[in-house]
């Protein structure tokens, strides 16, 4: 079994070389969920290395977001197991799973839009802020220290994304690209072992996308965590992902390195067969 974890069984060398001797941050075995009669996700088995940037791609409606919802238990899996850092996440709530180490962003941005930018990040710091209810109510018992610490840490995260000058703006009033960055900053504030990004480049122009790619690499290098992203922008995926998993109609149709995926006939068929669904950025 332990050998299983050392070698990335379900994938063809998805786990990068450097991660092979550590237990994977995330493993799923035969994960699946049905909505009524629809098998939205089925037999989904992957392994993600500790510091790996991996991609989850597939045509519209393939089940990618559903996979993220399964990983964070927003949806209860009908079948299969999820191991986070070797521990099963079954029967855990979404909040508990976050504490165990999965943070995420959402395809349709979900910020605390009436709160300030910095408070959004501070909400992300919730579980690492050491402040009791008594301290909250009285401003005593270490209130000042904990508030200052959360302010400082939040500012640090904001400056990582070059957003320090927006700290006091209302989150909902930010331009689109900044909202996406803020969502990532908030997720990182929870100190995850793996961060799931659902279409982080959606709606971005090429220069913003380039900055995002740079940011994703920096996140991995600075925080030493794994990044898993859903993306339709093939240029981005092929450029930064070390391992890619392709979903179609809820099933994994291919796994491998960008080169392998690019030349995989099944993948080409899944995309070309559904040209209407379209892959922005294309493979060219």
């Amino acid at each position: 079994m332990s050998k299983d974890k050392m070698v990335p069984v379900p994938s063809n060398a998805i786990v990068p070389e450097r991660d092979i001797n550590k237990i994977p941050i995330l493993e799923t075995h035969h994960l699946g969920i049905d909505f009524g009669g629809l098998k939205a996700v089925d037999e989904f088995s992957i392994t993600v290395g500790r510091t790996e940037i991996s991609g989850l791609i597939g045509p519209n409606g393939a089940g990618k977001t559903t996979v993220f919802n399964l990983l964070t238990n927003v949806y209860q899996p009908t079948r299969g197991t999820i191991l986070l850092d070797g521990k099963s996440t079954a029967k855990k709530s979404t909040a508990q799973i976050n504490k165990m180490g999965i943070a995420r962003t959402f395809q349709n941005i979900r910020l605390f839009s009436n709160m300030s930018v910095i408070d959004n990040v501070r909400v992300g710091l919730h579980n690492s802020t050491n402040q009791s209810l008594a301290a909250s109510l009285t401003r005593l018992f270490g209130y000042k220290t904990s508030e200052r610490k959360s302010l400082e840490e939040a500012m640090e995260l904001l400056s990582f994304f070059h957003m320090d000058d927006m700290a006091n703006r209302q989150a909902g009033s930010l331009p689109y690209g900044a909202q996406r960055r803020l969502e990532i900053a908030r997720a990182l504030a929870t100190r995850p072992g793996i961060i799931l990004l659902d279409e982080p480049a959606a709606g971005m122009n090429p220069s913003e996308t380039a900055e995002l790619m740079e940011n994703i690499r920096r996140i991995r290098d600075n925080f030493n965590i794994a990044v898993m992203l859903i993306e339709h922008d093939m240029n981005l995926v092929m450029n930064i992902c070390e391992g890619i998993c392709v979903l179609d109609h809820g099933k994994v149709i291919a796994k491998g390195s960008p080169d392998e995926i690019r030349s995989n006939p099944k993948v080409i068929e899944a995309y070309l067969g559904k040209k209407k669904g379209g892959v922005e950025g294309g493979e060219e």
Binding site: A103, R110, M115, V123, H126, S136
Partner: protein, 361 residues
């Protein structure tokens, strides 16, 4: 620099709230002592304090937690009658009035908090408008229970009955609570000063809470429940915390209120009272504490000021409510208000606005 601005934003709200209350107190107390306030207004001082506490605490549930509560008067009722009973138990002690009032307020707060827990635990985990429905029912149930509750105190201790006063079997003492007649013989120990102190306490609790880890969690849940869960916030726990604190404060307000009258009945705390408080909150602004204080004071005084219009009083009241509601929700009027504000805004706001412009680039 950013940090300093961040701090100053909520200290400004704090100063506004505390300042407003203290100013009113400093002006009104000497006037009241000198007997310069008309009898009818003087009698309104404690009720106004009570309703400010009610509205500010309801704003915690409605404005910050984003849950509709239609039974806030129910918690007030629990606090009022448990406070009355607590004071009745202290009748033969030599404790000064203010300690008795303090005991009443604390007992009222605790019991209302327990009621809040009982109501909150089963429903607060549900999504949707269940809390509104259940609190509505709670308010009615509490009213009906107290309507047929008989309580008395004698040297053998507390006696309860659900059928009649005779069944209490009191030895040379008269009942405190007599079913539909309500509580009678209450010592009138509430004062304007105690009312202001309770407002200050409420502001202390609510404003501190809002600017804390707990308050941020509560506001985050209101803004986006799914996102709040995704960053590891235990939704049920924080919703319940806010809801129970809100109930405790309402209970305290109830105790203060009851001690202002020699007798009080359960029907005083009915659905209409809950809605009245909700109107104060909505017109004062969801999540806007200074606004709530102002709205409560004005709207509570309004029927009093309109007394000369006799029969048309409530009609005018309703018209004023509608006008205010329309005015505060109209985009055009908001823009106009913003313009006026900008004209009077201080230097720091201007630099702030400049900062915003730079940020979008």
């Amino acid at each position: 620099m950013e940090k300093i601005k961040n701090m100053s934003k909520f200290t400004r709200t704090n100063i506004e709230c505390y300042g407003m209350v203290l100013l009113a107190f400093v002006i009104l107390l000497p006037l009241q002592n000198a007997g310069l306030i008309s009898y009818s207004i003087a009698g309104q001082l404690v009720p106004i304090c009570t309703y400010i506490v009610m509205a500010v605490s309801l704003n915690l549930t409605v404005g910050f937690l984003g849950e509709l509560s239609l039974g806030h008067a129910g918690f007030m009722s629990v606090g009022a009658f448990s406070g009355v009973i607590a004071v009745a138990c202290l009748k033969n002690t030599v404790a000064p009035d203010w300690t008795k009032l303090l005991v009443a307020i604390i007992v009222g707060g605790i019991l209302a908090g327990v009621a809040g827990l009982i109501v909150g635990v089963p429903v607060i985990r549900l999504r949707g408008d269940y809390l509104a429905i259940v609190t509505l029912a709670f308010g009615e149930i509490i009213k009906n229970i107290i309507n047929c509750l008989y309580v008395g105190v004698d040297k053998n201790g507390l006696h309860f009955s659900m059928t009649s006063a005779d069944e209490l079997g009191l030895v040379d003492a008269s009942p405190v609570l007599k079913g539909p007649q309500g509580a009678t013989g209450i010592p009138k120990i509430s004062t304007f000063t105690s009312g202001v102190l309770l407002i200050l306490f409420t502001l202390f609790v609510v404003l501190n809470l809002i600017n804390s880890k707990t308050g941020r969690a509560v506001t985050a849940i209101r803004d986006n429940r799914i996102a709040a869960e995704s960053v590891g916030i235990n939704i049920t726990r924080y919703k319940l915390t806010a809801f129970v604190i809100s109930a405790i404060l309402a209970g305290m307000a109830g105790a203060l209120y009851a001690m202002n009258f020699s007798s009080i009945a359960a029907r005083k705390f009915d659905f209409n009272t809950s809605i009245l408080v909700l109107v104060f909150v909505v017109l004062g602004g969801m999540g806007n504490i200074p606004g709530t204080i102002v709205a409560t004071t004005l709207l509570y005084m309004l029927p009093e000021l309109l007394r000369q219009f006799a029969d048309y009083r409530m009609l005018i009241y309703a018209v004023v409510l509608i006008v205010v509601m329309v005015a505060t929700n109209s985009e055009r009027i908001k823009l106009f208000a913003d313009k006026i504000k900008a004209r009077f805004s201080r230097e720091e706001d201007i630099t702030d606005a400049a900062g915003k412009g730079g940020g979008t680039k």
